[in-house]
Symmetry: C2
Subunit: 243 residues, 2 copies
Protein backbone atom coordinates (compact mmCIF):
# COMPACT_ATOMS: atom_id res chain seq x y z
CA UNK A 1 0.00 0.00 0.00
CA UNK A 2 1.35 3.40 -0.87
CA UNK A 3 1.06 6.58 1.15
CA UNK A 4 -1.56 7.88 -1.22
CA UNK A 5 -3.78 4.85 -0.82
CA UNK A 6 -3.47 5.06 2.95
CA UNK A 7 -4.58 8.65 2.63
CA UNK A 8 -7.55 7.78 0.49
CA UNK A 9 -8.65 4.79 2.49
CA UNK A 10 -8.55 6.54 5.82
CA UNK A 11 -9.31 10.15 5.17
CA UNK A 12 -11.90 9.87 2.46
CA UNK A 13 -13.54 6.58 3.26
CA UNK A 14 -15.51 5.89 6.35
CA UNK A 15 -15.25 2.19 6.38
CA UNK A 16 -12.49 -0.12 5.23
CA UNK A 17 -13.32 -3.71 4.58
CA UNK A 18 -11.63 -7.02 4.42
CA UNK A 19 -13.78 -9.55 2.68
CA UNK A 20 -12.74 -13.12 3.23
CA UNK A 21 -14.21 -16.50 2.84
CA UNK A 22 -15.65 -17.58 6.14
CA UNK A 23 -13.73 -20.22 8.02
CA UNK A 24 -16.78 -21.13 10.08
CA UNK A 25 -17.27 -24.49 11.73
CA UNK A 26 -19.62 -26.01 9.19
CA UNK A 27 -17.82 -27.44 6.21
CA UNK A 28 -20.98 -27.92 4.17
CA UNK A 29 -23.51 -25.23 3.29
CA UNK A 30 -26.33 -24.83 5.76
CA UNK A 31 -29.84 -24.55 4.36
CA UNK A 32 -31.31 -21.15 5.13
CA UNK A 33 -34.72 -20.81 6.70
CA UNK A 34 -36.83 -21.04 3.59
CA UNK A 35 -34.63 -18.63 1.63
CA UNK A 36 -32.62 -19.79 -1.36
CA UNK A 37 -29.94 -17.19 -0.73
CA UNK A 38 -29.89 -15.37 2.64
CA UNK A 39 -28.63 -11.75 2.64
CA UNK A 40 -24.91 -11.61 2.01
CA UNK A 41 -24.45 -15.31 1.23
CA UNK A 42 -22.40 -16.35 -1.78
CA UNK A 43 -22.63 -19.77 -3.37
CA UNK A 44 -24.84 -21.10 -0.60
CA UNK A 45 -22.69 -20.07 2.34
CA UNK A 46 -21.92 -17.01 4.46
CA UNK A 47 -19.25 -14.61 3.26
CA UNK A 48 -17.46 -13.07 6.24
CA UNK A 49 -16.65 -9.39 5.96
CA UNK A 50 -14.62 -7.49 8.56
CA UNK A 51 -15.04 -3.71 8.47
CA UNK A 52 -13.28 -0.93 10.30
CA UNK A 53 -15.68 1.74 11.48
CA UNK A 54 -13.86 5.04 11.67
CA UNK A 55 -15.14 7.59 14.18
CA UNK A 56 -18.65 8.75 13.32
CA UNK A 57 -21.86 10.00 14.85
CA UNK A 58 -25.58 9.35 14.69
CA UNK A 59 -28.04 12.24 15.01
CA UNK A 60 -31.70 12.81 15.78
CA UNK A 61 -33.86 14.64 13.25
CA UNK A 62 -33.97 17.59 15.64
CA UNK A 63 -30.19 17.77 15.93
CA UNK A 64 -29.80 17.60 12.13
CA UNK A 65 -31.95 20.71 11.85
CA UNK A 66 -30.10 22.55 14.62
CA UNK A 67 -26.66 21.71 13.19
CA UNK A 68 -27.38 22.10 9.47
CA UNK A 69 -30.36 24.49 9.40
CA UNK A 70 -34.15 24.32 9.61
CA UNK A 71 -35.61 21.81 7.19
CA UNK A 72 -32.27 20.02 6.70
CA UNK A 73 -32.15 16.28 6.26
CA UNK A 74 -29.20 13.90 5.96
CA UNK A 75 -27.97 13.51 2.39
CA UNK A 76 -26.72 9.99 1.59
CA UNK A 77 -23.23 10.10 0.09
CA UNK A 78 -22.18 6.47 0.21
CA UNK A 79 -24.10 3.31 1.01
CA UNK A 80 -22.74 1.10 3.77
CA UNK A 81 -22.65 -2.68 3.39
CA UNK A 82 -25.74 -3.12 5.56
CA UNK A 83 -28.77 -2.29 3.42
CA UNK A 84 -30.49 0.98 4.28
CA UNK A 85 -27.52 2.55 6.06
CA UNK A 86 -25.27 5.23 4.61
CA UNK A 87 -22.53 7.73 5.24
CA UNK A 88 -24.05 11.17 4.88
CA UNK A 89 -22.49 14.12 3.10
CA UNK A 90 -22.62 15.98 6.39
CA UNK A 91 -19.87 16.08 9.00
CA UNK A 92 -19.76 17.74 12.41
CA UNK A 93 -17.05 19.08 14.67
CA UNK A 94 -16.86 17.25 17.99
CA UNK A 95 -15.57 19.43 20.82
CA UNK A 96 -14.33 18.03 24.12
CA UNK A 97 -13.19 19.64 27.34
CA UNK A 98 -10.40 22.24 27.27
CA UNK A 99 -11.28 23.12 23.67
CA UNK A 100 -9.84 20.00 22.14
CA UNK A 101 -11.72 18.92 19.07
CA UNK A 102 -12.06 16.53 16.15
CA UNK A 103 -12.70 18.77 13.18
CA UNK A 104 -14.64 16.53 10.84
CA UNK A 105 -16.63 13.55 12.09
CA UNK A 106 -18.88 11.83 9.56
CA UNK A 107 -22.61 11.53 10.22
CA UNK A 108 -24.17 8.14 9.47
CA UNK A 109 -27.78 7.78 8.44
CA UNK A 110 -30.61 7.25 8.81
CA UNK A 111 -31.37 9.42 11.84
CA UNK A 112 -32.04 7.82 15.21
CA UNK A 113 -34.09 8.54 18.33
CA UNK A 114 -30.90 9.68 20.09
CA UNK A 115 -27.59 11.23 19.06
CA UNK A 116 -24.41 9.26 19.70
CA UNK A 117 -20.70 9.74 18.94
CA UNK A 118 -18.58 6.61 18.34
CA UNK A 119 -14.82 6.99 18.73
CA UNK A 120 -11.80 4.74 18.88
CA UNK A 121 -9.93 4.99 22.19
CA UNK A 122 -7.13 6.88 20.42
CA UNK A 123 -9.68 9.49 19.25
CA UNK A 124 -11.15 9.65 22.72
CA UNK A 125 -7.75 10.30 24.27
CA UNK A 126 -6.90 13.03 21.78
CA UNK A 127 -10.29 14.62 22.48
CA UNK A 128 -9.80 14.39 26.24
CA UNK A 129 -13.02 12.43 26.79
CA UNK A 130 -13.06 9.15 28.69
CA UNK A 131 -15.37 7.21 26.36
CA UNK A 132 -16.38 3.84 27.82
CA UNK A 133 -16.70 0.68 25.74
CA UNK A 134 -20.44 0.32 25.10
CA UNK A 135 -22.73 -1.35 22.65
CA UNK A 136 -24.60 1.04 20.39
CA UNK A 137 -27.58 2.61 22.13
CA UNK A 138 -26.33 1.80 25.64
CA UNK A 139 -25.39 5.36 26.45
CA UNK A 140 -26.78 5.92 29.95
CA UNK A 141 -24.16 7.60 32.08
CA UNK A 142 -21.66 8.07 29.25
CA UNK A 143 -19.87 11.41 28.77
CA UNK A 144 -21.23 14.16 26.58
CA UNK A 145 -19.62 16.64 24.21
CA UNK A 146 -20.47 19.59 22.01
CA UNK A 147 -21.34 19.05 18.35
CA UNK A 148 -20.82 21.99 16.03
CA UNK A 149 -22.29 22.26 12.55
CA UNK A 150 -22.50 25.10 10.02
CA UNK A 151 -25.87 26.29 11.35
CA UNK A 152 -25.59 25.71 15.07
CA UNK A 153 -24.33 23.59 17.93
CA UNK A 154 -25.72 20.96 20.26
CA UNK A 155 -24.63 20.11 23.79
CA UNK A 156 -24.93 16.35 24.23
CA UNK A 157 -25.22 15.47 27.91
CA UNK A 158 -24.29 11.87 27.09
CA UNK A 159 -23.63 9.66 24.10
CA UNK A 160 -19.86 9.54 23.56
CA UNK A 161 -18.79 5.90 23.46
CA UNK A 162 -16.22 3.53 22.14
CA UNK A 163 -18.41 1.12 20.15
CA UNK A 164 -17.91 -2.44 21.34
CA UNK A 165 -16.95 -5.00 18.72
CA UNK A 166 -19.93 -6.73 17.20
CA UNK A 167 -20.97 -8.87 14.29
CA UNK A 168 -24.12 -8.27 12.27
CA UNK A 169 -25.72 -11.42 10.95
CA UNK A 170 -29.03 -12.82 9.79
CA UNK A 171 -30.69 -15.92 11.19
CA UNK A 172 -29.22 -18.18 8.53
CA UNK A 173 -25.77 -16.97 9.63
CA UNK A 174 -26.78 -17.69 13.24
CA UNK A 175 -27.67 -21.25 12.26
CA UNK A 176 -24.39 -21.61 10.41
CA UNK A 177 -22.32 -20.60 13.41
CA UNK A 178 -24.62 -22.10 16.05
CA UNK A 179 -25.14 -18.79 17.84
CA UNK A 180 -28.01 -16.45 18.61
CA UNK A 181 -28.54 -12.77 19.18
CA UNK A 182 -26.56 -11.59 22.20
CA UNK A 183 -23.96 -14.38 22.14
CA UNK A 184 -20.25 -13.56 22.18
CA UNK A 185 -17.88 -14.81 19.49
CA UNK A 186 -14.16 -14.60 18.72
CA UNK A 187 -12.53 -13.24 15.62
CA UNK A 188 -9.05 -14.31 14.61
CA UNK A 189 -7.15 -12.12 12.16
CA UNK A 190 -3.99 -13.53 10.63
CA UNK A 191 -1.75 -10.68 9.51
CA UNK A 192 2.02 -10.63 8.93
CA UNK A 193 3.84 -10.14 12.26
CA UNK A 194 0.71 -8.83 14.00
CA UNK A 195 -1.98 -11.49 14.18
CA UNK A 196 -4.67 -10.90 16.78
CA UNK A 197 -7.67 -12.71 18.22
CA UNK A 198 -10.46 -10.39 19.29
CA UNK A 199 -12.79 -11.76 21.93
CA UNK A 200 -16.07 -10.24 23.13
CA UNK A 201 -17.55 -9.95 19.63
CA UNK A 202 -21.29 -9.49 20.25
CA UNK A 203 -23.78 -11.13 17.89
CA UNK A 204 -26.39 -8.66 16.63
CA UNK A 205 -28.88 -10.75 14.69
CA UNK A 206 -31.49 -9.33 12.35
CA UNK A 207 -33.50 -10.88 9.52
CA UNK A 208 -32.07 -8.49 6.92
CA UNK A 209 -28.48 -8.20 8.15
CA UNK A 210 -25.46 -9.31 6.15
CA UNK A 211 -22.57 -11.04 7.90
CA UNK A 212 -20.18 -8.27 8.90
CA UNK A 213 -17.90 -7.71 11.89
CA UNK A 214 -17.40 -4.11 12.96
CA UNK A 215 -14.18 -3.19 14.72
CA UNK A 216 -12.81 0.30 15.28
CA UNK A 217 -9.67 1.93 13.91
CA UNK A 218 -7.52 1.00 16.92
CA UNK A 219 -8.52 -2.62 16.57
CA UNK A 220 -8.10 -2.56 12.80
CA UNK A 221 -4.70 -0.93 13.09
CA UNK A 222 -3.55 -3.23 15.90
CA UNK A 223 -3.76 -6.16 13.47
CA UNK A 224 -3.09 -4.12 10.30
CA UNK A 225 -6.32 -5.38 8.78
CA UNK A 226 -5.36 -4.16 5.31
CA UNK A 227 -2.61 -6.78 5.19
CA UNK A 228 -4.65 -9.62 6.71
CA UNK A 229 -4.46 -12.96 4.94
CA UNK A 230 -7.17 -14.81 6.86
CA UNK A 231 -10.09 -13.98 9.13
CA UNK A 232 -11.99 -16.58 11.14
CA UNK A 233 -15.11 -16.13 13.24
CA UNK A 234 -15.70 -18.73 15.94
CA UNK A 235 -18.45 -19.48 18.39
CA UNK A 236 -16.10 -20.53 21.14
CA UNK A 237 -12.32 -20.79 21.29
CA UNK A 238 -10.33 -18.68 18.94
CA UNK A 239 -9.01 -21.57 16.88
CA UNK A 240 -5.43 -20.80 17.86
CA UNK A 241 -4.84 -24.37 19.00
CA UNK A 242 -5.30 -25.59 15.44
CA UNK A 243 -2.66 -23.32 13.98
CA UNK B 1 -10.17 7.00 34.82
CA UNK B 2 -11.00 10.67 34.44
CA UNK B 3 -10.29 12.83 31.43
CA UNK B 4 -7.44 14.46 33.30
CA UNK B 5 -5.72 11.16 34.02
CA UNK B 6 -6.07 10.12 30.39
CA UNK B 7 -4.45 13.38 29.53
CA UNK B 8 -1.64 12.88 31.97
CA UNK B 9 -1.03 9.24 31.14
CA UNK B 10 -0.92 9.74 27.41
CA UNK B 11 0.34 13.21 26.80
CA UNK B 12 2.92 13.53 29.50
CA UNK B 13 4.09 9.97 29.92
CA UNK B 14 5.93 8.02 27.33
CA UNK B 15 5.12 4.59 28.53
CA UNK B 16 2.10 3.24 30.32
CA UNK B 17 2.42 0.01 32.18
CA UNK B 18 0.26 -2.74 33.44
CA UNK B 19 2.04 -4.83 36.01
CA UNK B 20 0.44 -8.17 36.66
CA UNK B 21 1.35 -11.40 38.24
CA UNK B 22 2.55 -13.75 35.56
CA UNK B 23 0.20 -16.56 34.65
CA UNK B 24 3.03 -18.56 33.13
CA UNK B 25 2.97 -22.29 32.68
CA UNK B 26 5.02 -23.23 35.73
CA UNK B 27 3.06 -23.21 38.95
CA UNK B 28 6.12 -23.43 41.16
CA UNK B 29 9.05 -21.04 41.17
CA UNK B 30 11.86 -21.96 38.82
CA UNK B 31 15.38 -21.77 40.15
CA UNK B 32 17.38 -19.18 38.31
CA UNK B 33 20.73 -19.99 36.79
CA UNK B 34 22.80 -19.51 39.88
CA UNK B 35 21.19 -16.18 40.76
CA UNK B 36 19.09 -15.80 43.88
CA UNK B 37 16.92 -13.17 42.27
CA UNK B 38 17.08 -12.64 38.49
CA UNK B 39 16.39 -9.10 37.21
CA UNK B 40 12.74 -8.19 37.65
CA UNK B 41 11.76 -11.27 39.65
CA UNK B 42 9.65 -10.88 42.77
CA UNK B 43 9.38 -13.55 45.46
CA UNK B 44 11.27 -16.06 43.38
CA UNK B 45 9.25 -15.78 40.18
CA UNK B 46 8.90 -13.55 37.12
CA UNK B 47 6.66 -10.52 37.34
CA UNK B 48 5.06 -9.87 33.98
CA UNK B 49 4.82 -6.25 32.93
CA UNK B 50 3.04 -5.08 29.78
CA UNK B 51 4.03 -1.62 28.58
CA UNK B 52 2.65 0.60 25.85
CA UNK B 53 5.39 2.30 23.88
CA UNK B 54 4.10 5.57 22.51
CA UNK B 55 5.67 6.85 19.30
CA UNK B 56 9.34 7.71 19.80
CA UNK B 57 12.66 7.85 18.04
CA UNK B 58 16.25 6.73 18.49
CA UNK B 59 19.10 8.92 17.28
CA UNK B 60 22.78 8.62 16.45
CA UNK B 61 25.27 10.87 18.25
CA UNK B 62 25.76 12.74 14.99
CA UNK B 63 22.04 13.39 14.55
CA UNK B 64 21.74 14.61 18.15
CA UNK B 65 24.34 17.26 17.40
CA UNK B 66 22.71 18.29 14.12
CA UNK B 67 19.24 18.52 15.66
CA UNK B 68 20.10 20.07 19.02
CA UNK B 69 23.39 21.86 18.34
CA UNK B 70 27.11 21.07 18.30
CA UNK B 71 28.23 19.35 21.49
CA UNK B 72 24.68 18.37 22.48
CA UNK B 73 24.00 15.08 24.19
CA UNK B 74 20.74 13.43 25.21
CA UNK B 75 19.56 14.49 28.67
CA UNK B 76 17.81 11.71 30.59
CA UNK B 77 14.43 12.84 31.87
CA UNK B 78 12.83 9.60 32.96
CA UNK B 79 14.23 6.12 33.37
CA UNK B 80 12.48 3.32 31.52
CA UNK B 81 11.83 -0.03 33.17
CA UNK B 82 14.76 -1.67 31.38
CA UNK B 83 17.93 -0.63 33.18
CA UNK B 84 20.09 1.86 31.31
CA UNK B 85 17.36 3.14 29.00
CA UNK B 86 15.59 6.46 29.38
CA UNK B 87 13.23 8.99 27.83
CA UNK B 88 15.27 12.05 27.02
CA UNK B 89 14.23 15.63 27.63
CA UNK B 90 14.56 16.18 23.90
CA UNK B 91 11.78 15.81 21.34
CA UNK B 92 11.84 16.17 17.57
CA UNK B 93 9.31 17.04 14.92
CA UNK B 94 8.76 14.22 12.41
CA UNK B 95 7.72 15.44 8.98
CA UNK B 96 6.20 13.20 6.34
CA UNK B 97 5.23 13.74 2.72
CA UNK B 98 2.87 16.59 1.82
CA UNK B 99 4.00 18.52 4.91
CA UNK B 100 2.13 16.38 7.38
CA UNK B 101 3.90 16.16 10.71
CA UNK B 102 3.96 14.91 14.28
CA UNK B 103 5.01 17.91 16.29
CA UNK B 104 6.64 16.37 19.30
CA UNK B 105 8.11 12.88 19.23
CA UNK B 106 10.14 11.84 22.26
CA UNK B 107 13.76 10.75 21.85
CA UNK B 108 14.81 7.65 23.77
CA UNK B 109 18.35 7.11 24.97
CA UNK B 110 21.06 6.06 24.88
CA UNK B 111 22.04 6.91 21.31
CA UNK B 112 22.37 4.16 18.71
CA UNK B 113 24.43 3.42 15.60
CA UNK B 114 21.39 4.34 13.46
CA UNK B 115 18.41 6.64 13.80
CA UNK B 116 14.95 5.10 13.80
CA UNK B 117 11.38 6.35 14.25
CA UNK B 118 8.83 4.00 15.83
CA UNK B 119 5.17 4.78 15.23
CA UNK B 120 1.83 3.10 15.79
CA UNK B 121 -0.07 2.47 12.56
CA UNK B 122 -2.51 5.25 13.48
CA UNK B 123 0.44 7.68 13.73
CA UNK B 124 1.82 6.39 10.47
CA UNK B 125 -1.50 6.98 8.68
CA UNK B 126 -1.83 10.50 10.05
CA UNK B 127 1.73 11.21 8.94
CA UNK B 128 1.09 9.77 5.48
CA UNK B 129 3.97 7.28 5.72
CA UNK B 130 3.44 3.58 5.08
CA UNK B 131 5.51 2.25 7.98
CA UNK B 132 5.96 -1.53 7.83
CA UNK B 133 5.86 -3.77 10.89
CA UNK B 134 9.52 -4.45 11.72
CA UNK B 135 11.59 -5.52 14.66
CA UNK B 136 13.86 -2.81 16.01
CA UNK B 137 16.99 -2.40 13.90
CA UNK B 138 15.54 -4.18 10.86
CA UNK B 139 15.13 -1.03 8.85
CA UNK B 140 16.51 -1.92 5.42
CA UNK B 141 14.10 -0.70 2.76
CA UNK B 142 11.80 1.10 5.18
CA UNK B 143 10.53 4.62 4.42
CA UNK B 144 12.36 7.72 5.55
CA UNK B 145 11.22 11.07 6.89
CA UNK B 146 12.56 14.44 7.95
CA UNK B 147 13.44 15.08 11.59
CA UNK B 148 13.44 18.68 12.73
CA UNK B 149 15.02 19.93 15.95
CA UNK B 150 15.71 23.39 17.34
CA UNK B 151 19.18 23.54 15.77
CA UNK B 152 18.72 21.75 12.46
CA UNK B 153 17.09 18.99 10.49
CA UNK B 154 18.01 15.53 9.26
CA UNK B 155 16.72 13.67 6.22
CA UNK B 156 16.42 9.99 7.10
CA UNK B 157 16.47 7.86 3.97
CA UNK B 158 15.02 4.94 5.95
CA UNK B 159 14.11 4.04 9.52
CA UNK B 160 10.39 4.70 9.96
CA UNK B 161 8.77 1.52 11.28
CA UNK B 162 5.92 0.17 13.27
CA UNK B 163 7.77 -1.69 16.01
CA UNK B 164 6.69 -5.32 16.13
CA UNK B 165 5.44 -6.64 19.45
CA UNK B 166 8.14 -8.17 21.57
CA UNK B 167 8.95 -9.29 25.07
CA UNK B 168 12.20 -8.52 26.84
CA UNK B 169 13.33 -11.24 29.22
CA UNK B 170 16.42 -12.62 30.88
CA UNK B 171 17.54 -16.23 30.70
CA UNK B 172 15.83 -17.19 33.94
CA UNK B 173 12.59 -15.93 32.39
CA UNK B 174 13.37 -17.99 29.28
CA UNK B 175 13.73 -21.07 31.46
CA UNK B 176 10.47 -20.29 33.23
CA UNK B 177 8.50 -20.06 29.99
CA UNK B 178 10.48 -22.72 28.11
CA UNK B 179 11.46 -20.35 25.30
CA UNK B 180 14.61 -18.90 23.84
CA UNK B 181 15.69 -15.76 22.04
CA UNK B 182 13.83 -15.41 18.75
CA UNK B 183 10.83 -17.56 19.70
CA UNK B 184 7.30 -16.26 19.28
CA UNK B 185 4.84 -16.14 22.17
CA UNK B 186 1.23 -15.11 22.70
CA UNK B 187 -0.10 -12.52 25.10
CA UNK B 188 -3.67 -12.62 26.30
CA UNK B 189 -5.14 -9.47 27.80
CA UNK B 190 -8.45 -9.76 29.63
CA UNK B 191 -10.19 -6.40 29.63
CA UNK B 192 -13.90 -5.58 30.05
CA UNK B 193 -15.71 -5.99 26.71
CA UNK B 194 -12.47 -5.86 24.73
CA UNK B 195 -10.21 -8.80 25.55
CA UNK B 196 -7.53 -9.56 22.98
CA UNK B 197 -4.89 -12.18 22.33
CA UNK B 198 -1.81 -10.83 20.60
CA UNK B 199 0.22 -13.37 18.66
CA UNK B 200 3.66 -12.87 17.11
CA UNK B 201 5.25 -11.63 20.34
CA UNK B 202 9.01 -12.00 19.72
CA UNK B 203 11.29 -13.08 22.56
CA UNK B 204 14.27 -10.75 22.95
CA UNK B 205 16.45 -12.38 25.56
CA UNK B 206 19.31 -10.66 27.34
CA UNK B 207 21.14 -11.42 30.59
CA UNK B 208 20.17 -8.09 32.17
CA UNK B 209 16.63 -7.71 30.81
CA UNK B 210 13.54 -7.57 32.99
CA UNK B 211 10.38 -9.34 31.86
CA UNK B 212 8.40 -6.75 29.90
CA UNK B 213 6.15 -6.93 26.84
CA UNK B 214 6.18 -3.89 24.58
CA UNK B 215 3.08 -3.15 22.51
CA UNK B 216 2.26 0.09 20.74
CA UNK B 217 -0.57 2.55 21.38
CA UNK B 218 -2.92 0.99 18.82
CA UNK B 219 -2.47 -2.40 20.42
CA UNK B 220 -2.78 -0.99 23.93
CA UNK B 221 -5.90 0.95 23.00
CA UNK B 222 -7.45 -1.97 21.12
CA UNK B 223 -7.62 -3.87 24.42
CA UNK B 224 -7.89 -0.80 26.67
CA UNK B 225 -4.85 -1.93 28.63
CA UNK B 226 -5.53 0.55 31.43
CA UNK B 227 -8.64 -1.42 32.38
CA UNK B 228 -7.09 -4.89 31.99
CA UNK B 229 -7.74 -7.34 34.79
CA UNK B 230 -5.40 -10.13 33.71
CA UNK B 231 -2.45 -10.59 31.38
CA UNK B 232 -1.03 -13.97 30.43
CA UNK B 233 2.07 -14.77 28.41
CA UNK B 234 2.15 -18.20 26.77
CA UNK B 235 4.70 -20.16 24.83
CA UNK B 236 2.13 -21.73 22.56
CA UNK B 237 -1.63 -21.43 22.39
CA UNK B 238 -3.22 -18.34 23.81
CA UNK B 239 -4.93 -20.12 26.68
CA UNK B 240 -8.38 -19.20 25.42
CA UNK B 241 -9.53 -22.79 25.52
CA UNK B 242 -9.12 -22.83 29.28
CA UNK B 243 -11.37 -19.84 29.86
Amino acid sequence: MTASTIDRSVIEQLVRNAIRQSGGPASTPVAARGAANPPGWIDGKPNLRVSISARHCHLTDEHVEILFGAGSVLKPEKDLYQDGFYAAEQTVMVVGPRRRMLGSVRVLGPTRPFSQVELALTDSISLGIDAPVRHSGKIDGTPGCVLVGPAGSVQLTQGVIRAARHVHMNFADCDHYGVQNGDMMKLKIVSPDCSVTFEDVLVRADEAAKLEVHIDTDEGNACNLDTATEVTLKKGGCGCEKK
